[in-house]
Amino acid sequence: MQMVERVGAEAIVMELAGELDLHAAPRLRAELDRSLDRHPGRDLVLDLSRVTFIDSSGLGVLLGRHRRLEPTGRHLVLAGVSPGIRDVLTVAGLTHVLAVRDQTHTGEGVDA
């Protein structure tokens, strides 16, 4: 799993690539929390356009970040969500909980 952080005035954009599973979850959690600690007051946008796989272990990390941000008024946004990733989010019921966008943070569409 690869992660690239871009920090703007309003939001941290974290571009993720690879597979978000049990193996990736600890590092994903640590890096996201480190970024949130370093850049307070900003929303967190996760660009998932290069994420090829996610299961409940990866989803748990995303949900955990959402739970951390929500009470502070900050938001977690999932961007660049492919149809396959969206299906997994739907089964987990997270499309009703998290902000999910098909387009990437730069407004590009995601191939079906």
Binding site: G64, G84, V88, V91, A92
Partner: protein
Amino acid sequence: MTANQVRLDLLGIPANVGIARITAAALAAQASFSLPEIEELKVAVSEAVTNAIVHGYRDDPAGIVTIRLSLTDDGVVIVVEDHGVGMEDVTLARQAAFSSDPERMGLGFVFMETFMDALTVESAPRLGTTITMAKRPQSAPRVAADAR
């Protein structure tokens, strides 16, 4: 008739969950599964192996997770077996959100049931757990029972 079969004996470490997925995907690709169906299969396998590592062996890296995959005329059958702590109550464990860890969603069985066509779970305390899952390609011709 079994067209192909594969057996994996994996150390119960997180890095091996991906190996299980790749193997299942490669086997399913030999049948007429669509790409979305293969992605669903990968999620189900990932969940089953993760359960074995996290719950069966409580993250003990010495535990072995055995995966037997069979490709037949009807699709794939995947058996994930551990010899870990086992479950006292399988019915309770299969319910969504049964997890003491706030970042573990407890949805493993939900994904397996949703993405596979059949699922059975056998488990007993101290004897481990065996998950058997089957999936049929949607494009596969269905033969009426009396035509067999």
